[in-house]
């Protein structure tokens, strides 16, 4: 926090609406030095409160709301400082971009959560995303139907899952190793097909993207309306998927059995649950969900497939799984955080902040490492995660 001691005079401006919005909110401008000072004092107070919680509290943990308030204030402090005297910080743009970048991460992390809850470590999220993106691009272009492309992405994700499931469940290969190998395999395969087929025939690599479908009324809410409710069907599917995954895992018979298989497969076996079959189908579903995330790249973000276009998102999604404590909703929030970190970097670059760009490029990964490292030991993975079940 000492870095903020460097005096930056002038004022900082935050834009709160885009030009297309129904409600126009004037940008907010705050004096930089005063705001930074006030917020910094608030942060110190919060840190002291958190310390008291750890010392006195029955659980010895900092409550989540406190951490959240701290994080938001810290961010505000950082932005105020970084944006002093520059162009205004476009808050809606920052958030919209975050959600866009988070969408494949969240689908990927849901795929991870589902697979690992059943006891199969899903390191192949990257491969599932990439193959989903590729399948969606090819089939979507050939049929000119994005919905068919989406279906192809699901199939692509499931295919990768089946290879994972076959080796992990049937042949008891180490799940982390097979996951890594699958990622390499899918990368190589899609690179090859891209160079040999898609480059030669560009008609196979130009999809119709999903149109934006603003939801009436909801999309007119200031700030969050344009962020959450002027999206494509894939983003809406993501909202549904997060809720549905949570509901299915924790409220249904299927979910109870999946979790039993991931925690103590032998106990599940002794009450007549078919462990291997449950794991197989659960991993298939995980692949399908991750595949939808892949479709985001080629049916929503852009309209063509590019080499290695997922660019490590699968691994960040894996970090979101751990950061989210193998819980679908928390993993989705973690995905949002990582999406935000990535987008913050480009936004700060655009407004020309004084932070070196090399540091900004590191930002999402630094946040990922800190988030995951800070949580190790606190969250508990499913007890039989990654362990093959041998009858």
């Amino acid at each position: 926090m000492f870095a903020f001691g460097i005096p930056r005079s002038g004022s900082s401006t935050f834009g709160l609406s885009t030009s297309r919005d129904f409600f126009q909110i004037p940008p907010v401008t705050v004096p930089t030095v005063g705001t930074v000072t006030v917020v910094a004092i608030l942060l110190v107070v919060l840190a002291v409160v958190a310390h008291l919680f750890v010392d006195r509290g029955a659980t010895g943990k900092v409550p989540l709301w406190l951490a959240a308030v701290f994080a938001v204030l810290f961010l505000f402090l950082f932005l105020t400082w970084a944006a002093a005297g520059l162009r205004s910080v476009p808050i809606p743009g920052l958030l919209i971009g975050s959600l866009a970048l988070a969408t494949p991460l969240i689908f990927g992390s849901l795929g991870g959560v589902i697979g690992e809850r059943a006891g199969v470590v899903n390191v192949a999220i990257e491969g599932q995303l990439l193959f989903g993106a590729f399948s969606a691009a090819v089939v979507g272009s050939a049929t000119h139907q994005p919905l068919v492309g989406l279906l192809a992405a699901v199939v692509g994700g499931v295919l990768v899952s089946w290879v994972l499931a076959a080796f992990a469940i049937k042949y008891l290969v180490d799940q982390v190793i097979i996951g890594v190998v699958l990622n390499v395999l899918v990368t190589g395969l899609t690179n090859f097909l891209y160079s040999k087929v898609l480059v030669a025939d560009p008609a196979l690599n130009s999809t119709h993207r999903f149109p934006r479908m603003p939801i009436p009324l909801l999309s007119d809410i200031p700030i969050i309306g344009p962020v959450l409710f002027q999206q494509t069907i894939i983003t809406y599917l993501m909202y549904v998927a997060v809720f549905l995954t949570w509901y299915m895992l924790f409220k249904t018979r299927w979910g109870l059995r999946v979790r039993a298989v991931g925690e103590h497969p032998q106990a599940a076996d002794t009450v007549g649950i078919k462990v291997q079959r449950t794991r197989f189908w659960t991993v298939s579903i995980a692949g399908a969900v991750a595949g939808i995330g892949g479709a985001y790249y080629t049916l929503d973000a852009v309209s063509s497939f590019g080499k290695e276009m997922t660019n490590g998102a699968g691994f960040i999604a894996l970090a979101a799984v751990i950061f989210g404590g193998w819980h679908p909703i928390k993993a989705a929030l973690a995905g949002l955080l990582f999406g935000f970190a990535t987008n913050l970097q480009s936004t700060l670059g655009i407004i020309g902040s004084p932070v070196p760009s090399e540091f900004l490029l590191m930002l999402p990964y630094v946040i990922t490492i800190f988030a995951v490292a800070g949580l190790v030991g606190q969250s508990r993975s499913p007890a039989a995660d990654g362990k093959p079940y041998i009858t």
Partner: protein
């Protein structure tokens, strides 16, 4: 329901685990299946429960031949099992564990947890169990977890209940309560198969006893049979159940433990403020139910626990703070609790295992080279002295039986010049014959003037070996009492109560 097993044979490769076993359990009967570890009792029950397919033979329920392809089939036929290692999901609630596999649901596959709770409450009240359906299983004491297992089986209307070594994890009081529950179940018409190797329990509760040895039925016995008769059937020869020992001739205080605490990686005190002393030539047995800090206590003495408070000294020399190597060099012999994990290297030969903790200096190592001749001579001698049944000193330890493995550990530890012997659960998983041998050796060490600390969870062993008994409960010592303290008192102490005579 009447259960019949006819000619059950189960092979694992060349090993015949069950050899044409016949067994009949009548309706409302408690039938004890008695046998040593490795006699094939659990295999037989896993066949009955559909976990393993039988190679030969058939299972009949009320004279109808059954074909089980998995535990699900066995359960729907009315067979329930209370497993030795509980088959409960630790992070699930009681209700969730009970319904797993036959979940009541509402529309859309939504779990009907209200119905599940009602079911748990109904069965608990029927048998007087006090089980909260919303408690998370891992937070419950083992005795209660076992009741959850029983509720789980009963919720599927089990007519035949198999109890696989149910008392291994229980305090004596909990064991008595379990016996009560078994009688209650029997009165309600449930047939019970009770698998155990503990003679006292069998005679207390069983209507009939079938003894199994080396995969074969060796005979039936009435519950009126004596311990000695049952033991000799189990082992195949006459055995001494209580070893003869002379009164102790204690010398000076040798091991002194003062205000010792052990803190685990979760910052919990797993051993808290424990003080005791052991004199030369006496056996102090640390009794208690598994998991009350005994393991951590012995590890603390051996320098295996990173965070300890307090002081441990041996003959006036400080032990606490030394490395494990330093503790061994101070003349401490250690028989670890889990011989496969900590005591032996399965892929090494007997000879190699015999020199494991003397691998840094003479006589077995000179100038960095193994003295194979010296080792061979030493190993041959120990093989005979400790009656280790193996093809030779080059046999791999992993291929030996549990009893012979433990003899290798003992041979190694007792052949050094000892100033203290620490033996944690020295007879766990051993057959009656090997137990006799191990006990004799421990008493010999005592009579040679070595102070001995034995950790045991088995009351029989506590009573057989102890000159004094320290009972541990939740990391603390409840009391230190003389070796002839009654089992009832010890049982109460294991549950954390301090009886008047112990408090004095």
């Amino acid at each position: 329901m009447k259960l019949q097993l006819r000619g059950i044979t189960k092979r694992f490769g060349a090993l015949v685990a069950n050899d044409h076993i016949d067994l009949t359990v009548g309706s409302g009967e408690i039938h004890a299946l008695l046998g040593e570890n490795g006699a094939g009792k659990s295999t037989l029950m896993n066949v009955l429960y559909g976990m393993y397919p039988a190679d030969e033979g058939e299972v009949l329920l009320d004279d109808v031949i059954q074909h089980f392809t998995g535990p699900g089939d066995a359960m729907s036929a009315g067979i329930g099992m209370v497993h030795q290692h509980f088959m409960l999901i630790p992070v699930f609630t009681v209700a969730e564990n009970v319904i797993l596999g036959h979940e009541p649901t509402r529309a859309g596959g939504r779990l009907d947890l209200a119905a599940a709770r009602a079911k748990v409450r109904e069965i608990s009240s029927r048998f007087g169990f006090d089980v909260d359906p919303d408690a998370v299983v891992e937070d419950l004491p083992v005795g209660v977890q076992q009741r959850v297992e029983i509720i789980k089986a009963l919720s599927r209307d089990a007519k035949v209940l198999i109890f696989d070594e149910p008392t291994a994890v229980l305090t004596p009081q909990e064991t008595d309560e379990l016996m009560g529950i078994m009688r209650q179940l029997k009165a309600a018409g449930t047939s019970i198969v009770f698998i155990t190797h503990k003679l006292r329990e069998v005679r207390e509760v069983a209507d009939r006893i079938t003894v199994i040895r080396l995969g074969k039925v060796v005979g039936d016995a009435p519950p009126t049979a004596s311990n000695a008769e049952l033991a000799s059937m189990m082992v195949g020869r006459a055995v001494e159940l209580m070893i003869e020992k002379d009164p102790e001739r204690p010398g000076a205080e040798a091991l002194v433990v003062e205000d010792l605490s052990v803190i685990d990686h979760n910052d919990q005190y797993v051993v808290s403020h424990v003080s005791f002393s052991v004199r030369a030539g006496e056996v102090l047995v640390i009794a208690g139910v598994q998991g009350n800090g005994q393991t951590e206590l012995t590890e603390a003495i051996m320098g295996l626990q990173p965070r300890i408070e307090g002081k441990i000294s041996l003959n006036g020399h400080e032990l606490s703070g030394r490395s494990t190597h330093g503790v061994l060099d101070a003349g401490v012999g250690f028989v670890p609790e889990d011989r496969n994990e900590d005591g032996l290297i399965a892929e090494f030969t007997i000879a190699e295992n015999l020199m494991l903790d003397r691998s840094s200096s003479a006589p077995f190592v000179r100038a960095g080279s193994l003295q194979l001749g010296v080792l061979q001579e030493f190993a041959e001698q120990k093989l005979t002295e400790f009656d280790i049944r193996a093809q030779g000193i080059d046999s791999l330890v992993g291929q030996l039986s549990g009893g012979n493995q433990q003899k290798v550990v003992l041979a190694r530890e007792l052949s050094r010049e000892l100033r203290l012997l620490v033996a944690a659960q020295p007879t766990r998983g051993l057959d009656v014959g090997s137990i006799e041998f191990v006990h004799t050796r421990i008493i010999q060490a005592r009579d040679a003037g070595i102070p001995v600390v034995v950790v045991s969870t088995e009351l029989d062993e506590v009573v057989a070996l102890a000159d004094r008994i320290a009972v541990m409960f939740r990391g603390g010592i409840v009391g230190i009492v003389p070796g002839d303290t009654s089992r009832e008192t010890l049982g109460l102490m294991m549950a954390g109560e301090v009886p008047a005579e112990a408090a004095a």
